[in-house]
């Protein structure tokens, strides 16, 4: 903990001095999420308060610093379903990176960044964004060990046409065992093709994990937002020697269109199916030890001022035991300038 405080302190100091060198309009932002989540999983109740602060600092038009920490509490009964409640808190750094935005085709990032395998980790794994509170079962595939990488990454849009865009990321990461900043030794990337007029994207990912005997993970994903219906369809498939599986999620907003949000239009219904097939389990792969299927259904209500209420029910089927999972929560996304005062 004191180590991460040091890093964060150094980073802040650096940000303050660096920002002073650049333009007035480069106001940094402090953003993030506060969430409270309650869960009942196979009869065991637990509560998870979460704070996820984000600091983002523009340094002129080409440099950018972004960082996100996560302070997560876990409050549960000592013996699962009996005994007194006690809690523990863990703090992690999800990313702390310096981006050099060369042009639309190329951004170079160094530091700690979210491992870009498929899309869940980079795009949906923020508490206020995810439509269902639990990450997909296959999430650890391609994002070992911590979902974050310590190294360097290039990304951008390789080809941009009116009808389609090809986007890519490629990275390498070093092994880091430092508490709160862990990452695996790995290299990989993702390529996607996006059709703006159709709201459709499809892509594929690859990771070579360069420790524990070297493993290859591969994946594919698709996203579809039909332009005239407020429907979001997302899906991922991932394969590794430890196991493979997929998830498919569909979310519908009860509104005429995405911008028209009033009354019932603030309500969203979500359904997700998942199938996981066990491979050769390995210590630290964070995957289930048996084939697992899961179905989730959830309702989200988007209140004004970036507050969201959510409730969901899930059923998990596995030879190790079936379970009902009920979850409910409240999420607030905040955003404000990190320095007070001053006009643009």
């Amino acid at each position: 903990m004191s180590f991460s405080k040091n890093v964060f302190g150094t980073l802040l100091l650096f940000l303050c001095s660096a920002s002073a060198l650049f333009g007035q309009s480069d106001t940094p932002i402090l953003s993030g999420t506060v969430q409270f989540l309650g869960t009942s999983n196979a009869g065991a109740n637990f509560y998870q308060p979460v704070i996820v602060p984000i600091l983002a600092v523009p340094l002129g038009d080409h440099f950018f610093i972004e960082s996100r920490a996560e302070i997560q509490g876990f409050i549960a009964r000592d013996n699962g379903t009996t005994g007194p409640y006690s809690g523990q808190f863990i703090a992690t750094f999800d990313y702390a990176q310096l981006d050099y935005i060369a042009n639309s085709h190329l951004t170079i990032s160094v530091g700690r960044f979210l491992t870009p395998f498929n899309i869940y980790n980079e795009r949906y794994n923020a508490p206020w964004i995810k439509n269902l509170p639990d990450a997909a079962i296959i999430f650890p595939i391609g994002t070992r060990t911590s979902g974050s990488s310590d190294g360097a990454m290039v990304r951008g849009v390789a080809v941009a046409r009116k009808k389609f865009e090809v986007n890519y990321t490629a990275y390498f990461s070093a092994l880091t065992n430092v508490e709160n900043l862990g990452s695996g030794r790995a290299a990989g990337g993702r390529v996607g093709i996006f059709f703006p007029e159709k709201g459709f994207e499809i892509g594929t990912s690859y990771q070579r994990f360069l420790q524990n005997g070297e493993l290859n993970a591969s994946g594919a994903y698709l996203v579809w937002q039909p332009p005239r219906i407020p429907l979001d369809i997302r899906s991922e498939f991932a394969h590794s020697p430890n196991g493979q599986g997929y998830w498919l999620e569909s979310a519908y907003r009860f509104a005429k269109d995405r911008r028209n949000i009033s009354g019932i239009g603030r309500l969203q219904a979500v359904a997700r199916i998942q199938q996981y097939f066990n491979g050769t389990p390995q210590a630290g792969d964070s995957l289930p030890l048996a084939d697992t299927n899961r179905f989730d259904f959830g309702l989200n209500y988007y209140l004004p001022h970036d507050v969201r209420l959510n409730g969901s029910y899930g059923r998990q089927f596995s030879s190790l035991g079936n379970a009902n999972i009920w979850e409910y929560g409240i999420t607030y996304r905040f955003l404000f300038p990190a320095w007070p005062g001053g006009s643009r």
Binding site: F3, N6, T10, L11, F14, S17, A18, L21, F22, G23, S25, D26, T27, I29, S31, A56, V57, P58, L59, G60, D61, H62, F63, F64, L98, D99, Y100, I101, N103, S104, T107, S109, V110, G111, E122, R123, Y124, A126, W128, I129, R155, G156, V157, E165, T176, V178, P196, V223, Q225, R258, R259, Y302, P304, H305, D306, L335, P337, G342, S343, R344
Partner: protein
Amino acid sequence: MKGRVTAFLATAALLACGLSPVASPQNPAPAQKSATVTRTTAQQSKEGERRFQANCGRCHNAPEAISPREVKAVLQHMRVRAMLSAEDEQLILKFLAP
């Protein structure tokens, strides 16, 4: 490790200061003359709105409001995350903070 991180941050700071061109003032749009200028700006703002609609609800609920002081940081963040083009960034910026 701590030394390495500090060294990395220091190098990054040096790089950031040394390499970057002087930050260009935003929107140096001359507020003078001719209807053409106004029309172009109106068109740009319309195009900015279109691109906002097309891009900003793809991954999450499109934000209801972003204050002008926050816009640049948000758009740069999204530019890196969502791989927006420089043109998208400029047009959406004009729409959100005219």
